[in-house]
């Protein structure tokens, strides 16, 4: 992604004291600038206002949150504290973090070699393998959930924990393989060939040469996987719902609304606290996110 300016035919900048045509061109350009930015501000309101209203409601009093008011009469910052100290909230937080961190690490460890092999090694059935990867990537998780649940719950007795969600990530993730492979294809072969001439094995070449060059893609995969786990609702609902000690933030948030059923202010405070880590991490890793999304759609 280079600059964010439009392709445009350069109009010669008119000298001061200028012709009518020059002034006209300048005026059109200015009006265009105004139009584009007004539209952008209108769009920005649509994207930002929901966050603002959620945040304002989160600091309203119980009574006011039941009205249609937009602006808090008095600021109840204690609501955030109340939510934070709700029994279970910290546990959900810890569980979510465990699921997301372990899931991300295992996905990276297992998917990188596979993506590399699919991008670089020649073998029979490689195209078939790639088709399978794409198919599993597109597959709704509900297609295989019933037998998977029976497998984890009846054979391994692991229902009521998050392990049925974490362990499979040690055996790759289709989307991560796909994204990494797309990126690895763009790295010229010559780098590895040169390393091999110097007596480097395949594994060492991957670790020493390819991985440092693939950092942007690895960062993007890590972030996507982290957020997939962080946001996952279906998985924890299937496996962890029977045991409150294993709930995650997404699953717990639903029950939170149940426990404080009339309190929109506390519910919105909880919603805000669940969204916060995502937003904070985004500000630190914006570039990696945008690169990741771009890679999936465009590179090839």
């Amino acid at each position: 992604m280079s600059t964010l300016t439009t392709p445009r035919v350069e109009t010669p900048v008119p000298a001061p004291g200028l012709t009518t045509a020059g002034r006209e061109a300048r005026r059109t350009k200015f009006l265009q600038w105004v139009a584009v930015h007004s539209l952008a501000i209108a769009a920005a309101l649509f994207f930002v206002l929901p966050f603002v209203f959620v945040a304002l409601t989160a600091v309203m009093s119980d009574q006011q949150a039941l009205t249609r008011d937009l602006w808090p009469d008095s600021w109840h910052w204690g609501n955030l504290r109340t939510v934070w100290e709700t029994p279970g909230f910290l546990t959900w937080w810890k569980n979510t973090l465990m699921y997301a961190v372990l899931g991300t690490v295992l996905t990276l460890l297992s998917s990188i070699p596979v993506a590399y092999a699919l991008a670089r090694f020649k073998f029979r059935g490689r195209n078939l393998a790639m088709m399978l990867v794409i198919s599993t990537m597109m597959l709704p998780p509900q297609v295989v959930i019933v037998p998977m649940y029976l497998f984890w719950a009846k054979e391994l007795h692991l229902s009521g924990t998050l392990w049925p969600l974490i362990i499979p990530m040690a055996f790759t993730d289709a989307f991560s393989i796909f994204l990494l492979r797309q990126f690895l294809l763009t790295i010229p072969k010559e780098y590895v060939d040169a390393a091999k001439v110097d007596g480097c094995g395949d594994f060492r070449a991957l670790v020493r040469i390819i991985l440092p060059m693939a950092k942007p893609a690895i960062a993007a995969v890590a972030l996507f996987q982290f957020f997939y786990c962080w946001n996952d609702y279906f998985g924890p609902q299937i496996y962890a719902s029977e045991n409150a000690a294993a709930w995650t933030l997404s699953y717990g948030l639903e029950s939170f609304k149940g426990a404080h059923h009339t309190n929109w202010n506390l519910t919105m405070a909880a919603t805000l606290l669940v969204m916060a880590p995502v937003i904070i991490l985004f500000f630190f890793a914006q570039k990696a996110f945008i690169e990741g999304v771009t890679l999936t759609g465009v590179k090839g």
């Binding site: 297992s110 596979v114 019933v146 957020f227 946001n231 609702y233 995502v278």
Partner: protein
């Protein structure tokens, strides 16, 4: 003399080592795809012909589950109709808005980074949190949106509480989270060669003609990609309609009665919700497996289209 069968021992040794190396690199995926995809898929097919409640041993019932789902299960056809609605309206609007916002951001000269961040952030909001937020914002009684509509003298819809408005409300939520599409459209728009715009400008093309004859042909593979991945996401649509229905019906935060999926009036039902409802609430493994296979077939049809038409963005070889 030397036939091809007797390759030098050195070469044969090298090939063997290469095969072992390939196997080693691919082994996590080979195990994963067998244990977590092929085996459960085969089981789903098996269970679709069985009467099985998850406790007593399965009994063969032939096509009974299939005929039950297609003729007697009152939720199946509404769910499929909703999916069709969402595919046509929600996916189309998402692609149009994504393209529109993507084009807008390429034209913004002041504060482009800030605008981009604001447009992108909702995409990252956890679906449960985003849906809870929208259920509150669009609450017909206390929500700020109807407050504002009321002040402007506009009609105030029932949103998630009105079967006619629940899918539009979900669509609004989906358009809010358009950041991913904005980014891929923005990137592909910036890749359109400048000379083509210049040439068509010299030929006297106006902005609309430049869009139709230069921009669209160049970004066509990305549009197709966005449409098909959008359709597949719609097949999996689960968390948002479920949470929206639960909050609006008062099951979350209400008297805690049994939730009948699809509130209001089956208008937010989707196929994945039926898999959960049949398989995990009504212990009808057979029926859930039938729905799962319907989902599988639909998803695979769209994936096949993607792979056939999408060679432009699925890099195949070097």
């Amino acid at each position: 003399m030397m036939s091809t069968a007797t390759i030098s021992p050195g070469l044969r040794h090298k090939r063997r080592r290469e095969r072992l190396r390939n196997l080693a690199f691919l082994s996590p995926w080979l195990i994963g795809v067998s244990v977590f995809f092929l085996y459960p898929l085969a089981s789903t097919v098996y269970f679709s012909f069985m009467k099985y409640d998850g406790f007593t041993p399965p009994v063969w019932t032939g096509l009974k589950n299939w005929s039950y789902v297609f003729t007697d299960y009152p939720f199946f056809w509404p769910a499929l109709r909703n999916t069709l609605w969402l595919v046509i309206i929600m996916v189309t609007l998402r692609v149009l808005f994504g393209l529109g916002i993507g084009m807008l951001i390429t034209k913004v000269k002041t504060g482009a980074g800030l605008f981009r961040t604001m447009f992108y952030l909702p995409y990252l909001a956890p679906p449960v949190a985003a849906t809870m937020a929208f259920a509150f914002l669009l609450n017909p009684g206390t929500g700020p949106v109807n407050n504002i509509l009321g002040r402007l003298g506009l009609p105030q819809p029932g949103w998630f509480n009105d079967p006619a408005w629940s899918k539009p409300a979900l669509t609004l939520l989906a358009i809010w989270g358009i950041g991913d599409l904005m980014v891929i459209f923005m990137a592909s728009l910036l890749d359109v060669p400048l000379e083509q715009y210049e040439a068509s400008s010299l030929d006297g093309a106006n902005a609309w003609q430049r869009f139709v004859h230069v921009t669209l042909p160049n970004i066509q593979p990305i549009v197709l990609f966005a449409v098909i991945t959008g359709v597949i996401q719609t097949m999996q649509y689960y968390t948002q309609p479920l949470i929206a229905g639960k909050v609006a019906s008062g099951v979350i935060g209400g008297s805690g009665q049994q939730f009948e999926p699809g509130y209001p009036d089956k208008s937010t039902l989707t196929l994945p919700q039926l898999v959960y409802n049949l398989g995990f609430q009504r212990f009808d493994t057979g029926g859930a497996s039938v729905i799962a296979l319907v989902l599988f077939v639909l998803a695979m049809v769209f994936t096949a289209i993607l792979m056939r038409r999408g060679s432009g963005f699925l890099a195949t070889d070097d």
